[in-house]
């Protein structure tokens, strides 16, 4: 490492706020997060340290600082000073120091660079503390303070301008036309009326266009009246990952409002974990009422279409193992649906040692895959997954999240591991039967 690199700070800053303003912005945001559930979870930790043993970053490195609940230390201090039932006493006696700007800056590595918000720690905690959700809430304050990794900030700015991190909406028709021609499949765009609004992940508009074509093949075969739409097409929701609540709301509204405008009764989300978290479980809160449209993930859609006989697949007849994307399975509840689709494809499923809601994260969720400082750490985490996949002896390796695929492909490339990471959707599309 060069001297210059060694001296460069391990954090980024955005905006022109003074240090005091950054601390103030973070604290104001933190305090707003403490509703009853967050407060209960801040109060209940017994510092048993078990969460460390669930975290892929700790397991891969052995470093204590990656203990999930330690990643909440500044958030905890904000809570006990400002919002806890004994806050006045805590402040009066000076029992807990407020976070300083230096601490907030250094915190970026823990809150963005080494937490994928996968929630495996939530599953081990004897107190049932949802640490992942608290990290997500803490990120809101870091965003307000202008203290997020620059790569994520760049994506945030792109999404603010374009409504997507991949492309401006006005370019969507051209992209879809190219994908349509390349893969020989019809992709409707900007229809005035449709029963289903179909959305994409950013990678599907760039490197993973095969996934987009696969979705089109399945939708067309199922006889769905569907469209993609410039008004709302990128479901990945970078605001959800970055802690940018205004952007999260705007991106969510663009999709739901577009669906309502074209009379759709369903929004279909791509093979993307965070899209599911942001839209399926959080969209309604921006509207203050239950949404008038149904939001489903691609895995659910495939499962339902197969069950209804609207699509059929040819059995592949090999063994396969499945990586459970955290936001879709552990925090999304689609464990059984994914396995039904795997079974429909005729795979003999050999489960990973840790699978389902206890499966290990790919290491790239929550924006970590886009965080260049976290790259060496991600590669260490990849070894956990690689060892578990190799141990199954399965012929194929399948998952249902594009972001997981990208992370795992990057890890495989670095480790010179040659097993392809396959998309459940693409496998269905490639094996559609008449």
């Amino acid at each position: 490492m060069s001297t210059a690199a060694a001296k460069s700070p391990a954090f980024d800053q955005q905006g022109t706020q003074s240090d005091a303003q950054r601390v103030d912005a973070a604290m104001r945001s933190f305090v707003r997060e403490f509703g009853v559930t967050a407060a209960l979870h801040m109060e209940s930790c017994v510092r048993c340290g078990m969460c460390a043993e669930a975290c892929h970053f700790h397991v891969a490195t052995g470093e204590a600082k990656y203990t999930p609940v330690y990643k909440l230390e500044l958030f905890r201090r904000a809570y006990f000073r400002e919002a806890s039932p004994f806050a006045p006493l805590v402040r009066l006696l000076g029992l807990v120091k407020p976070p300083s700007i230096g601490e907030l800056q250094q915190w970026q590595e823990l809150i963005y660079g080494s937490c994928t918000v996968c929630g495996r720690c939530t599953m081990i905690c004897p107190m049932g503390i949802d640490i992942a959700e608290l990290v997500k809430e803490a990120r809101h304050g870091m965003f307000k303070a202008g203290l997020i990794p620059e790569r994520l900030a760049l994506m945030d700015r792109a999404a603010q301008q374009w409504g997507s991190t991949a492309t401006p909406g006005e370019d969507l028709p051209d992209i879809l036309r190219e994908v349509s021609e390349e893969h020989g499949v019809e992709i409707p765009c900007d229809l005035d009326s449709a029963e289903m609004l179909v959305t994409a992940a950013p990678a599907e508009l760039g490197d993973h266009t095969k996934a987009l074509a696969a979705a089109a093949k399945v939708l067309n075969r199922a006889g769905i009246r569907w469209t993609m739409h410039q008004g709302g097409f990128d479901a990945a929701n970078i605001g959800f990952n970055n802690g940018d609540l205004e952007l999260q709301e705007r991106l969510t509204r663009s999709i739901i409002d577009t669906a309502i405008k074209i009379g759709a009764n369903t929004v279909l989300l791509p093979e993307c974990g965070h899209a599911y978290g942001a839209a399926r479980w959080e969209a309604a809160k921006w509207y203050g009422q239950a949404l008038p449209v149904r939001i489903i993930h691609m895995t659910e859609f495939l499962d339902e279409m197969l069950a209804a006989g609207r699509i059929k697949v040819k059995p592949i007849g090999q063994s396969a193992t499945f990586h459970d994307p955290c936001q879709i399975v552990r925090r999304g509840g689609l464990e059984a649906a994914a396995r039904r689709v795997v079974a429909a494809l005729g795979f003999e499923l050999i489960e990973l040692k840790d699978h389902g809601i206890a499966g290990y994260c790919c290491g790239g969720g929550g924006g970590v895959v886009s965080n260049v400082r976290a790259t060496p750490l991600r590669h260490k985490v990849f070894e956990i997954k690689r060892a578990q996949i190799d141990a199954t002896g399965a012929e194929r390796f399948v998952t249902s999240c594009g972001q997981c695929r990208i992370t795992l492909e990057q890890g495989a490339k670095q480790a010179r591991w040659t097993k392809p990471v396959e998309s459940l959707l693409e496998l269905v599309a490639d094996n559609l039967a008449d």
């Binding site: 009853v36 559930t37 460390a52 309604a284």
Partner: protein, 219 residues
């Protein structure tokens, strides 16, 4: 008023008041915070929220198989001192008598030599927990002064109780007074530190149970 009278009288009364009022203050201070309703439609077949909460409260009584290997010591040791504390607090005849005096509730006592043996095991287990906290890199990093205070104020009543039972180190009356004073200290600290998890765990697990069962996940 001698030390034992002081311990049995004003000390215990004051400690009891702090315990009750402090616990109510902390619980109500948290439970009365705003609650954001989850407006997303529940997963098909999701249980009622109270069932989801109860499920997680009960499931977290034992660890998931996947995590057991890496948490064996903490898991086993925690069971030992939690069960040990329950047996010593609620199994010893004088304790039951004390509880009956202010609540009217009583139940059959365990033989005192059994409770004594359990007390010794509990004490060993508590020291093992402390040793781990002082030496394990994760626990060292996480621990606050309050955690060590919680440990000390949990251990002292066990230690003084054993000494009093064994008539070791001082006059029985003095040992008993120290035992009661250590319990008073425990009760005074209880609402302020992590000992509150004895009540909070139900709500904390329950909140996660509600969130996850809504999504169709057995957390």
């Amino acid at each position: 008023m001698d030390l034992l009278d002081f311990a049995r009288g004003p000390a215990l009364t004051f400690a009891g008041a702090v315990f009750v009022l402090g616990t109510l203050w902390r619980l109500s201070g948290v439970l009365l915070l705003p609650r954001l309703r989850d407006l997303s439609p529940p997963r098909e077949g999701a249980p009622a929220p109270w069932r989801g909460a109860l499920g997680t409260v009960l499931r977290r009584m034992w660890p998931r198989r996947e995590f057991l290997d890496r948490t064996m010591f903490s898991t086993v040791n925690s069971y030992v001192f939690h069960i040990g504390l329950a047996v010593t607090v609620f199994g010893l005849a004088p304790h039951i008598l004390f509880i009956r005096n202010f609540s009217g509730l009583s139940w059959p006592a365990l033989p005192s030599n059994v409770v004594f043996a359990v007390g010794v095991i509990t004490l060993v287990s508590l020291f093992a927990a402390l040793a781990r906290r002082l030496t394990h890199p994760v626990l060292k990093l996480l621990s606050h002064t309050g955690d060590y205070l919680s440990w000390a104020l949990t251990t002292l009543p066990v230690l003084t109780g054993l000494l009093a039972t064994a008539h070791l180190g001082a006059r029985y009356e003095t040992l008993l007074a120290l035992h009661i004073l250590s319990i008073a200290a425990f009760l005074i600290w209880f609402p302020f530190g992590k000992l509150m998890h004895a009540f909070l765990f139900v709500f904390s697990r329950g909140a996660t149970g509600v969130r996850f069962s809504h999504r169709g996940v057995k957390a």
